[in-house]
């Protein structure tokens, strides 16, 4: 109650936006109806995403990754045969926000569900979306076995090195030295061992036809990563084996860094430990590209 009255008092003091203690960026006054209503300038929501607004944190990299995946499905005219299989993490918020068919998996189990769906209906273009906690911690054997079997599916890893949904806890991909809620002094190798570079592991498997690692820290990286997803899906359509794209994504909330600092933090930490690029491409080239 006290808090509420204090807020209305402070808003009464000035009509002008207050300056933030973090700099000269204005703080938007939300205690009254704005004089000029917010106006939609343009709708940049991709075709296969139903609702543009999402509840993920500001600065999160996962919506960017989801966007580029859905753009690829729409641009390649695959929307009438695509099946997206979701793991459990923050990105699960998109599993009921897509205009492509979705099968929701339990934590860690997306590759086995995708395997069953694809084998039962080979016409499906099947793509899984998992985070690092989901894929590399909870269900590590699933992606390795799917890759080794040469399963005709595309697995996408959204890797931010933390369990974002629980609030920033260590995963198997947390880099050495990285602070998380259960490695407060930073991940040290004596206590917590070393991270698993899952894309590099998968690239060693004969069943994997295409393995790449990209990121979404800037427009150039987004464009490069989108080409990786395009190629991964092309490989699935060629039917030459398993395809895998790891996408490094920002998690300022889980990293405890300022939103605007997150891309640089990624480039300097996870990005250094996990170089971007195509790690394996044994599928034949096609006329596309």
């Amino acid at each position: 109650m006290t808090e509420k009255s204090e807020k209305s008092d402070s808003s009464a003091k000035s009509d002008m936006p207050e300056m933030s203690e973090f700099g000269d960026r204005p703080v938007v006054d939300t205690s009254r109806v704005p004089e000029v209503p917010v106006r939609l300038v343009d709708d940049f929501t991709p075709e296969l995403i139903d609702v543009g607004a999402h509840h993920l944190c500001p600065g999160c990299g996962e919506p960017i990754a989801m966007r580029l995946i859905m753009e690829v499905l729409a641009e390649q005219e695959l929307k009438h045969r695509a099946l997206a299989v979701f793991g459990i993490g923050c990105y699960t918020a998109f599993s009921n926000n897509l205009d492509c068919e979705v099968l929701q998996a339990l934590h860690g189990r997306a590759p086995s569900l995708a395997t069953g769906a694809k084998r039962a209906n080979p016409n499906l273009l099947t793509i899984t979306v998992q985070g690092d906690g989901d894929m590399v911690n909870e269900g590590l054997q699933e992606v390795l076995h799917a890759a080794a079997r040469g399963e005709q599916i595309t697995c996408v890893l959204l890797n931010n090195g933390v369990f974002g949904e629980t609030g920033g806890h260590m995963t198997a991909t947390t880099t050495v030295g990285q602070r998380t809620k259960n490695t407060l002094e930073g991940r040290n190798t004596d206590d917590h061992g070393y991270p698993i570079r899952i894309a590099s592991l998968i690239a060693e498997l004969e069943g994997a036809a295409f393995v790449a690692r990209g990121s979404v820290t800037n427009a150039g990286n987004v464009a490069r990563t989108k080409r990786m997803v395009e190629r991964a899906i092309e490989v699935q359509l060629l039917g030459t084996g398993f395809s895998f794209v790891e996408i490094l994504t920002m998690c300022p909330t889980g990293w405890f860094v300022e939103t605007e600092d997150a891309p640089a933090y990624l480039d300097d930490t996870i990005g250094v430990a996990n170089f971007a690029g195509v790690l394996r491409d044994s599928a034949p080239a096609t006329s596309v590209e």
Binding site: D50, A74, V85, D99, V102, L103, G116, A117, R119, A120
Partner: protein, 376 residues
Amino acid sequence: MTELTAGLATGTPRLMEGSEAIAEAMVVAGCRFFAGYPMTPFTEILESMAEKLPPVGGVCMNAESELEAIGMAWGAASTGTRTATGSTGQGLALMQESLAELSLARLPMLVINMARSQGDYFQATRGGHGDSRRIVLAPMDVAEAVEFTQLGFHLADLYRNPVVLYGDYYIAHTYQSVIVERLEFGPLPAKDWALDGSTGGTGAAKLISPLGDYKQRDDVGYDLADYYARVEVDLSAMETDFAPLVETGFVDDAEVVVVAFGTPGKFVRYCVQELRAEGVKVGFVRPISLYPFPTEALQDATRAVRGVAVYENCAGQMIDDVRLAVLGRVPVEFIGGLTMDSSAFGIGPDLQVPILKQRIVDACRRAGCDLGEVPQ
């Protein structure tokens, strides 16, 4: 009550091992996807499915573990394909999370529990987190297994929920002359929920999720409280609609009723028949659906008895459901026991007619029956 048709099939009988007969029954029922991980006494079903499915255009997956076996089955079931998986009790333990959540994802599937002994009763009838429930069918021999395998697929499709078939080492490995042909159990709703990608881009793309089928475009976020309540309504409707399956015998004037299920249920039935011929007023109740449990049939059968004896090939689990059914009106005594074979597969020497008969007679004496000139 669902009409049982075992023994009424008209085709040519063939001598088959139980595991192969179950596999054959799955194939004739239209099962086209199977995933498993070898484990005794489930292994031979996996072997048979690996042999039988490819020639009919089906898929049999050798999963890396039971977790992935049920995961693969989950994916296949979502495409509308008749799907099954299975294991023994330990493997089913690994599948419990998925098994429980399949009720929430509303996906039909037959899950075969080729149990070691009967100690998987609790897990089969109560396993899994949350409020999920599923029908559990327990055949007593290969012929019933062939029928209930097919009935299981039907009930799974009817209620959009997994069904568990509770078999055992005997059913898996006994050769029996059986007729395996397609059985019809009535019409089923269309699988209009099945995924094939085709609704993508239409503005009404399908979603199958244990978190519910709400779409954000409908101005709804995930509302688990609302969705769980919806599923609960459907599961309760299933329990109301499905009449529990049970076989009873000699209960009208019985002084003691013996309760047993599965293969031991068949042994107990035989022992009771022999004891009746010897003049002992004993009857039997054989629960066939372990869930929902045939509570009413058991109440009817035990209304005028001196006591109830329960035989299980374990430390005693179903006895809890028997006690709940009779609600303290008469004493309930356990006459079963742990399997005594070193393998723990449930093939111990306790499952022998003379031993069983003696235990039943002893139970009758303790219940105060006048056994007259019965030799034991």
